[in-house]
């Protein structure tokens, strides 16, 4: 292996992963919204960067040949927030994109860069977990996919191995009656979430819930989802909320105390459940 130096601008994923395989210190750069801020703060001082800006195959939102929706890793938040393809449960991802930071940052940041950073306060992770997304990953060995639920491993840690690159997010396409919402609680519009809840409703009425900002990775629980399957009463929502609270491991930080975050979970869950049921009724009407 030889250490790379400077900026590389590959035109294909194959070239990009071969560069990354050649030097474990080389970093991929997409929109730059996080990486360059870290470079400016001298938290990271990479000698080599692999720019993903010239790789056409990882841009944009399309219907994949297997019927799923495919969001290329280099798709900017602005485009994801405006995509009419992201309907049904995938609307939770669109909703999350629209609540990231501000319009200027949404013009820059990409979904691949965002999830690879895996900050627990980010908006995409809970939405991707609730929407049953898969993350497509490339390396010189080929491609693999990981369920979003398994992609987020720990604080700022993902399932990506050295030399691997996120190439896309894959979302199931759902029929009429399905809906997805993302409810974010932040100090001011555009800040990181203090806590957030993504809720997706399948066409048969079942819910898939994930909580953001309340631990190293999004909180999701099959039993909590099952409690809400046929019962959307406040009692059922409280019980499901209690399970999610028991899984929470929130930080005390400038945005809110750990206790405050635990108190938010059942309240945001109530809002999310009401909103997603209302959204599915609008869709049917």
């Amino acid at each position: 292996m030889t250490a790379l130096q400077g900026l590389f601008r590959p035109a294909t994923v194959a070239e990009a992963v071969s560069l990354l395989a050649g030097d474990p210190e080389a970093r991929p750069i997409a929109g730059g919204a996080t990486l360059v801020a870290m470079m400016n703060a001298q938290v990271l001082e990479p000698a080599a960067l692999v720019s993903l800006a010239g790789i056409e195959e990882i841009r944009g939102i399309t219907s994949a040949s297997d019927g799923r929706l495919r969001i290329g890793a280099f798709t900017r938040h602005r485009e994801t927030a405006a995509s009419s393809l992201l309907a049904g449960t995938a609307a939770a991802v669109r909703d999350a994109a629209s609540k990231i930071a501000n319009a200027t940052v949404r013009n820059m940041g990409t979904i691949g860069g965002s999830i690879a950073f895996a900050d627990p306060g980010l908006d995409y992770p809970p939405a991707l977990v609730a929407a049953a997304a898969e993350v497509e990953i490339a390396s010189v060995e080929g491609r693999r996919t990981v369920a979003a639920r398994d992609f987020f491993v720990d604080w700022y840690t993902t399932a990506l191995a050295p030399g691997e690159l996120v190439t896309a997010v894959l979302l199931p396409r759902t029929d009429s009656g399905a809906a997805g919402v993302y409810i974010k609680h932040a100090r001011v519009s555009g800040d990181y979430a203090i806590a957030s809840v993504a809720a997706c409703r399948l066409p048969d009425g079942r819910l898939s819930i994930a909580v953001g900002g309340c631990g190293p990775t999004p909180l999701a629980d099959d039993e909590a989802n099952r409690l809400l399957e046929d019962d959307r009463s406040e009692t059922a929502i409280e019980a499901a909320g209690a399970i999610l609270v028991s899984l929470a491991d929130p930080l005390d930080d400038v945005r809110g105390s750990a206790d405050y975050r635990r108190l938010l979970i059942p309240r945001l869950l109530l809002r999310a459940v009401r909103a997603v049921d209302a959204a599915s009724r609008r869709d049917c009407a």
């Binding site: 900026l7 750069i29 929109g31 730059g32 360059v36 001082e45 000698a47 960067l49 200027t104 820059m108």
Partner: protein, 164 residues
């Protein structure tokens, strides 16, 4: 630090600008320190404040989060490069009339963001203006006068448009 300078040609305000930049050098540093285009301000240098907002391929973006070497092939427009844009003139007048600044440090970024908004939306409502300026922080006056100035500039431009 990466001391190696690489030659790159950027397109800034419609002109091809050949220069050398290091890997860690941002577009903001190139604009201010190499080209002396100082309307673009360095505030937080981490993408939060919006004082360094420029247009890249017609969309407002952060110069401080854009690496100079990675800007090859895109069209960069700074506030200086918008001086012939009638929207900018209307915004400048409206900002002055409304007293939409105090220290003025955030104003160039506000103007770049507002100019882009008016190019896309000639009649923006209050929510649209606030949404477009959400990434531009003002620590002096608050936003009421700024929002009023942008809406006023839009009204002036629409009136001019209907006369011509």
């Amino acid at each position: 630090m990466n001391p190696i300078e690489t030659p790159v040609t950027l397109r800034i305000n419609g002109e091809a600008v050949p220069l050398n930049a290091t890997l860690d050098e941002t577009l903001l540093t190139v604009l201010r320190d190499r080209l002396h285009l100082t309307a673009t301000k360095r505030g937080c240098n981490q993408g939060v404040c919006g004082a360094c907002t420029v247009r890249i391929d017609d969309r407002p973006m952060r110069a401080c989060l854009s690496l100079a070497l990675n800007c090859e092939g895109v069209d960069v427009r700074t506030l200086e490069g918008l001086e012939r844009d009638p929207r900018l003139l209307a915004l400048q007048r409206a900002f002055a009339e409304h007293g939409a600044f105090q220290c003025g440090f955030c104003t160039p970024g506000m103007l770049v963001s507002a100019c882009s908004l008016l190019a896309q939306e000639p009649d923006p409502g209050e929510a649209s203006v606030r949404n477009a300026l959400a990434g531009n922080l003002c620590r002096c006056t608050g936003y009421v006068k700024i929002v009023a100035a942008v809406k006023d500039a839009a009204a002036v431009l629409r009136a001019e448009e209907s006369r011509s």
